[in-house]
């Protein structure tokens, strides 16, 4: 089955591990995710103002490119891209006046934006659709591993784009169980990593990272899995900074969800550049027989 794939900027740089492992995992289930021949930065944050539609252009143009490939589904791995593309599609698509304004402005796109260009899908939903039986059948390296799922914000909020119940999501826990891991229950799995404040107000990120990691470790986590490059940085690089400052701080390695799946499914470890991780996951993965 073929579907279109929108990487977004970071998947080509600091989050390359996410892309390589996700695409390889999908291939195992006969899914070919074809990168869009033409795509643009999604803008990262969905602009929440009502009166400046210029700020919606970036995501919309990508959606129109996706429509032109003829594919009904557009996969995006980064949670921030997912959120922005979906919210932009809804915001402009649902209102005739806004659509008219945007279409009047966009002269060179080869058509009008209608709002139903593609079905934007995230990796977790795609894996859920594949189904636990097929996933279980692919286990090559069965592993006993306590994994703390970290959802972050943008896959679950606002409700209009949520892939699961924001108050009690279970989609990652179910997928982890399907591949033989033990999901760890801890209270901060949907608390924000503090996102872009790493630039200007890093103390907020430090506070959140400390809270999230401490709780996960307290509840027995041996690994933390994420779905977003910014969450990864905040939970990985900042964790390393905290560990440097506090010798007794217990760390836990942070992987993209598909990195874990790829290893369990027996895909080559070379898909990953473990050097980009600040908290080295290699010792844990070796100890568990995944490497």
């Amino acid at each position: 089955m073929e579907l279109s794939y929108y990487p977004g900027c970071t998947l080509k740089t600091t989050a390359r591990n996410f892309e390589t492992t996700a695409l390889a995992v999908l291939e195992l289930f006969d899914m070919q995710a074809r990168e869009l021949p033409e795509w643009y930065c999604c803008g990262v944050n969905f602009s929440q103002v009502q009166d400046n539609l210029m700020l919606q252009l970036a995501p919309l143009r990508t959606l129109m490119r996706a429509k032109q490939t003829g594919s009904r589904q557009l996969l995006t791995l980064c949670a921030m891209c997912y959120n922005t593309l979906r919210r932009a599609q809804q915001f402009i698509g649902e209102d005739e006046a806004r659509r008219a304004t945007i279409n009047d402005f966009m002269d060179h796109e080869g058509g009008d934006f209608t709002g139903d260009e593609v079905e934007i899908i995230d990796i977790l939903t795609l894996l859920k659709q594949i189904g636990p039986d097929k996933l279980q059948a692919r286990i090559t390296r069965p592993v006993s591993l306590q994994v703390a799922p970290y959802y972050g914000c943008l896959l679950l909020r606002p409700r209009t784009v949520a892939i699961d119940d924001p108050n009690n999501p279970q989609i990652m826990e179910n997928l982890l169980s399907a591949v033989g891991c033990q999901p760890v229950a801890y209270p901060f799995r949907t608390d924000c990593c503090a996102s872009y404040q790493i630039v200007n107000e890093p103390q907020i990120v430090h506070s959140q990272t400390k809270k999230i990691v401490t709780s996960a470790v307290q509840h027995g986590a041996e690994l933390l899995v994420v779905l977003c490059p910014l969450c990864h940085y905040n939970l990985d690089a900042v964790q390393a900074e905290i560990a440097r400052a506090e010798r007794t701080f217990k760390t836990v390695p942070v992987l993209y969800f598909t990195q874990l799946l790829a290893l369990i499914f027996g895909l080559p470890a070379a898909l990953n550049d473990f050097g980009t991780h600040r908290i080295d996951p290699v010792p844990t993965l070796k100890a568990k027989g995944l490497l």
């Binding site: 108050n167 009690n168 209270p187």
Partner: protein, 649 residues
């Protein structure tokens, strides 16, 4: 030609301000059949009515047209007036020149012309009106009360004490309802069962109340004064004639089932009474949980019963009864914790709802009145109460206020402090609604005397941590985020209609609102009646309310029932549609069209018959009849055609 008198009302300036009533009186004084026409300031007043009476007497009027406000207001008034001097009331017609004319137009010339046309058309109707007599409908002076909680019991007692027989149907094995589950009631802190059980016994012993517990209504037909109801008495597999309530079977039954009455905190047996003070105090056998019915083994209860009262072959009994009025008092359920993922979705044992806390507080509850928590039986030292859980939440749950939670949470906090004086109680609230007698004073006591800490704000999140429940809330009064390590959390969840209430409403053909609460006939002026004549409402089935309001409303519903029964008979409007058998070809179109099932095709005679009592005079059959065999009394085709002609010329 029929002598018609026309009386045009000014209604102060309501009509006369826009319609030239004097002008119309002048214009129509020579209209065919009009022997008297006059305008008057207020026709509905005594002098106004006397004017009509005088002219009937003096001129021998044969029909009267009053041009005034809507007939819904004063048609009855004027008809009574003409009847008092010997005219048939159905010869009195109203021409609505207010709601349908003066109140909706500004242009005086156009409004006057329109009023004239309206009056002319009604004169034409009156011209061909016939004397009619209201249809007499007999009344079965017996009431059915559905629901054996305090509302149903109160209504049943009031009706029975007025001398009428009452059937009280309750789906649970015992009457008592929610009030039987409560520990103490606010604001007096009376023991709930102590004040309730005398009523339960009175109901059981009342010679005019037939109590049918473990039973449900399965069918209803008929209309006010003449309902036919079918009730299914579920098989209880115990012969209650032989059973003495000795309790041996319950003691020895090996099967344990989580008790619904005790909010799943304790167990009952497969053969059980729901609580010790149950009325009737005879057990029922819960078939789905019974070992004998599942596997054919056991039979311990049968072997041990000294009175040979166990009967595994017992069948459901289906009764058909005739009643004249029905009171619906089906009560409430609490919004389930499974709907609240932000508070653990019912998976945290020490996060409970209000009724569960009542069972913990209750002297006859699972902990004999000691405040202990469900998970480990420890006495909680830090208890958090949260109000407005699922209520006042249009975005995620219910938009309305559940009314009683402010008071019962105050009560809970106080009772907790009385039993665990060293403990700390916190109440997260948005408002405190203490509107009843003694309620505000009661709430102040909780804060001042029992030092309950009221925190104004909601709780965004809670999670388990090492035997505690970490509650993350806010206090807007101090502007602080507040985190409490609670041992026990009590949620005041929303009150919603009892399960099965919506299905019952469909059966009875009464209305419910979008949340399933029964709809009253008028929100202000008719709070105990449904929109269906003869069916009345009481208690939380209609909307959340406390015990005094419930009892008052039940008494109100009972009063409406006895008022109905006090009449000799019911009178049904005679503007029904008959059948001219000579013209009727038996095509049956009118039967299909009738919304009230009032018409039936007679197989042998091949003509249609009509039940005058069911016919509501909507006219659908008259419009549909191709041969004119269906003519509505005083709305005959000839009358309508003349009215149209008067309007168009």
């Amino acid at each position: 030609m029929k002598k018609i008198g026309v009386f045009i009302c000014h209604c102060g300036i309501n009509i006369a301000g826009t319609v030239d009533v004097k002008g119309i009186a002048e214009k129509l004084k020579n209209y065919p059949g009009v022997v008297f026409i006059q305008d008057y300031k207020y026709m509905c007043s005594d002098p106004g009515q006397n004017l009509i009476r005088e002219q009937i007497r003096e001129l021998g009027l044969e029909a009267v047209v009053v041009a005034a406000c809507s007939p819904t207001l004063h048609e009855a008034t004027f008809r009574r007036a003409v009847e008092s001097v010997g005219m048939n009331p159905y010869e009195c017609e109203i021409a609505n020149i207010r709601e349908q004319c003066s109140w909706v137009h500004h242009d005086k010339t156009a409004a006057t012309a329109k009023a004239e046309i309206i009056i002319k058309s009604v004169i034409e109707k009156a011209r061909l009106d016939e004397d009619l007599a209201p249809v007499q409908v007999p009344i079965t002076r017996r009431a059915l009360v559905i629901g054996g909680g305090v509302a149903g019991m109160q209504a049943a007692l009031n009706i029975a004490n007025s001398g009428f027989e009452v059937l009280l149907v309750e789906k649970n094995p015992s009457i008592g309802g929610r009030m039987a589950q409560l520990s103490e009631t606010f604001p007096t802190l009376d023991c709930s069962q102590c004040i309730l059980t005398p009523k339960m016994v009175e109901v059981a012993q009342h010679p005019r109340i037939k109590l049918l517990t473990y039973s449900e209504l399965t069918d209803v037909s008929g209309f006010v004064g003449n309902f036919r109801v079918t009730i299914r008495q579920k098989a209880r597999y115990v012969d209650w004639q032989k059973c003495t309530g000795c309790g041996v079977c319950m003691e020895k039954c090996p099967v344990k089932v989580a008790s619904e009455f005790d909010s799943q905190l304790a167990n009952r047996r497969a053969i059980y009474t729901p609580f010790p003070q149950a009325v009737p105090n005879k057990p029922v056998l819960d078939r789905p949980h019974c070992t004998y019915f599942k596997t054919g083994k056991c039979q311990i209860c049968k072997k041990l019963c000294p009175f040979d009262a166990i009967d595994y072959d017992q069948q459901d009994v289906v009764l058909t009864e005739e009643v004249g009025a029905i009171v619906v008092a089906t009560g409430y359920d609490l919004y389930g914790l499974e709907h609240l993922p932000e508070y653990g979705a019912g998976n945290i044992p020490d996060v409970i709802d209000g009724l569960t806390f009542e069972r913990i507080l209750s002297a006859s509850g699972p902990f004999s009145g000691e405040v202990r928590r469900p998970s480990d039986g420890k006495v909680p030292q830090e208890v958090v109460f949260i109000k407005c859980v699922g209520s006042r939440d249009p975005e995620n749950h219910y938009p309305y206020c559940s009314k009683v939670c402010c008071m019962y949470t105050t009560k809970h906090a106080m009772l907790y402090k009385h039993r665990v004086p060293d403990g700390q109680a916190y109440v997260f609230y948005m408002d405190v609604r203490a509107d009843g007698k003694g309620y505000e004073e009661f709430y102040q006591r909780a804060a001042e005397e029992d030092k309950v800490l009221y925190l104004r704000g909601k709780v965004a999140k809670m999670y388990r941590d090492n035997g505690k429940i970490i509650v993350c809330g806010y206090d807007t009064l101090s502007g602080e985020n507040v985190e409490i390590g609670a041992d026990l959390v009590v949620l005041a969840t929303a009150i919603r209609p009892a399960q099965g209430a919506v299905e019952l409403a469909k059966l009875l053909k009464i209305q419910v609102d979008q949340h399933g609460f029964l709809t009253e006939a008028h929100p202000k002026l008719r709070p105990v009646e449904s929109l269906t004549a003869g069916i009345f409402l009481a208690g939380c089935a209609q909307s959340p309310r406390d015990i005094p309001d419930t009892v008052a409303q039940a008494a109100g519903a009972a009063s409406m029932v006895t008022t109905l029964f006090a009449r000799e008979c019911l009178y049904h409007e005679p503007i029904t549609t008959g059948v001219n058998e000579e013209l009727c070809s038996g095509c049956g179109i009118c039967v299909a069209v009738c919304p009230y099932d009032a018409r039936q095709l007679h197989r042998e005679k091949h003509v249609v018959e009509v039940n005058e009592v069911l016919c509501e005079g909507c006219g659908a059959c008259a419009a549909a009849c191709p041969s004119g065999a269906a003519q509505q009394r005083n709305f005959k085709d000839a009358q309508l055609i003349n009215m149209i002609k008067a309007i168009l010329t």
